[in-house]
Symmetry: C2
Subunit: 274 residues, 2 copies
């Protein structure tokens, strides 16, 4: 999928919502907890109730790996299920991988060949070698961590460099040259909305994947205000605030209601476009 | 396992060798390639032939994930097999994970509870939040990327900060305070040996996990010369140069021979200790 295809999905669905499938079994409703394949069953119910309101899903790998082999199997089932449900939906492996070239190549194989993800999140610390192998796949995306939503983003990401810019800006300005707006996007957290505006100035055309709305405290309105460009330019991720909105038998419809509510808010910001 | 226990294994075995299990099926000898469980069978043969010469093994997760569910199962089997073979051996998940606190907690569960790894490699980009959950496990280790062995370590790791130090030094000097020499070590590549000496000055007591010897060009002698401290302070990793040293039916004994050769070289540097 390229940017234009993703953008037409955004316009068609009036939504730039990505739902994070941080599917922690400890948080599941009791009637799901007891099932053998509980992660997949939970995801399936959430996907059925929310697919019409989203343009992307983002399974967070940690929650699957924590269940070992069975978790990895249910991750694969989830990706297949999303593809079958709505082939226009963009699927992100939130994996935050990053390793030397020959290893990165194997991670790319894992996410783009063994499983059918559209994109993978990547940590930039090790530099270009660790990103390039992912960019060899036509129609697949590298989503590079720039400025994340957590409080310790101040530790290293926001460190000022000798050259006068913070590290996250150096990451964006370097890596933007390794690919195009059709295969690179950046993670920019919603918890520092004023930074979104700053980053838009030197990164006008690329998509941002924006975590931090919901449980972490960011708001859709602020993200849209500071981060939107003329082709939307945003995928806003919400995880726990949607998938764990309900705790009972009706958890999926509660999640669907919450997703609808957020997508309606998003649609109001999309009115100005196209 | 704490530092003293690991150090007594180093002294007893006269070796600070870690073998990287970068078990890429495309590189296996033909008689292994055809097996159902080829990764595990390959690893088992390598482990049987080399266990007496090593203090650590380091499966590189990418090579297992690239095989999907089956790869993840064979990773778990490999960890169990090493434990059974020689319970003194330190097992490192080369995973280079790094995510916000609630996600990092799940990765820690994956590697320290679901599987019985002693340590996991971690990318520091997102700061303290992303490391802390791993440090809650008694006897388990966080191995933090500082200065890696790949050429694009120059992109961000070696960037000079406003404060006058390069990023990798800032990473070491910050994160050293988050734990102790019993649960934090650093990745410092063998491909820039002069940097090992520099880093030893401000990080005298911690273990370094040193990749880059072998295929990437670093040498044991230089690493020992520049990186050793009075408690050895080194785990030197060799992957492809050992596990793919032989390409025929006798690949395991060729690997064993290569591992013995490297450990003998290491033992000469250990003579000065204890």
């Amino acid at each position: 999928m390229n940017y234009d295809e993703l953008y037409s999905n955004i316009i068609r669905k009036r939504s730039f919502l990505c739902i994070g499938l941080d599917s922690d079994p400890d948080q599941f409703p009791d009637h799901i907890k007891v099932l053998d394949n509980s992660i997949f069953e939970f995801n399936k119910a959430i996907i059925d109730a929310t697919a019409q309101y989203v343009v992307a899903y983002k399974p967070n790998l940690a929650f699957y790996e924590a269940e070992g082999v069975s978790g990895w199997r249910q991750l694969a089932q989830t990706v297949e299920y999303i593809r079958k449900k709505d082939s226009s939906i963009f699927i992100i492996a939130d994996a935050k991988r990053g390793d030397i070239g020959n290893t990165a190549k194997m991670y790319a194989k894992a996410f783009f060949e063994k499983m059918d993800f559209d994109a993978v999140t990547l940590a930039p610390y090790m530099g270009k070698d660790s990103i390039e192998p992912f960019l060899q796949y036509n129609g697949k995306w590298s989503i590079i961590l720039a400025l994340t939503s957590n409080s310790s983003a101040t530790d290293f990401e926001m460190e000022q460099l000798n050259s006068g810019v913070p590290m996250y800006r150096k990451v964006i300005e370097s890596s933007i040259r390794w690919g195009s707006r059709d295969n690179i996007m950046f993670v920019v957290g919603a918890t520092r909305p004023e930074k979104l505006a700053e980053i838009r100035k030197y990164c006008p055309d690329h998509l941002f994947l924006v975590p931090g709305v919901g449980t972490q405290g960011g708001s859709v309105a602020e993200v849209a205000r500071y981060g939107m460009n003329s082709s939307c330019g945003l995928l806003v991720n919400v995880s726990r605030k949607i998938i764990f909105a309900g705790q009972n038998k009706d958890f999926a419809s509660v999640a669907g209601h919450k997703a609808r509510q957020i997508s309606l808010e998003m649609s109001s910001f999309l009115k100005v476009l196209r």
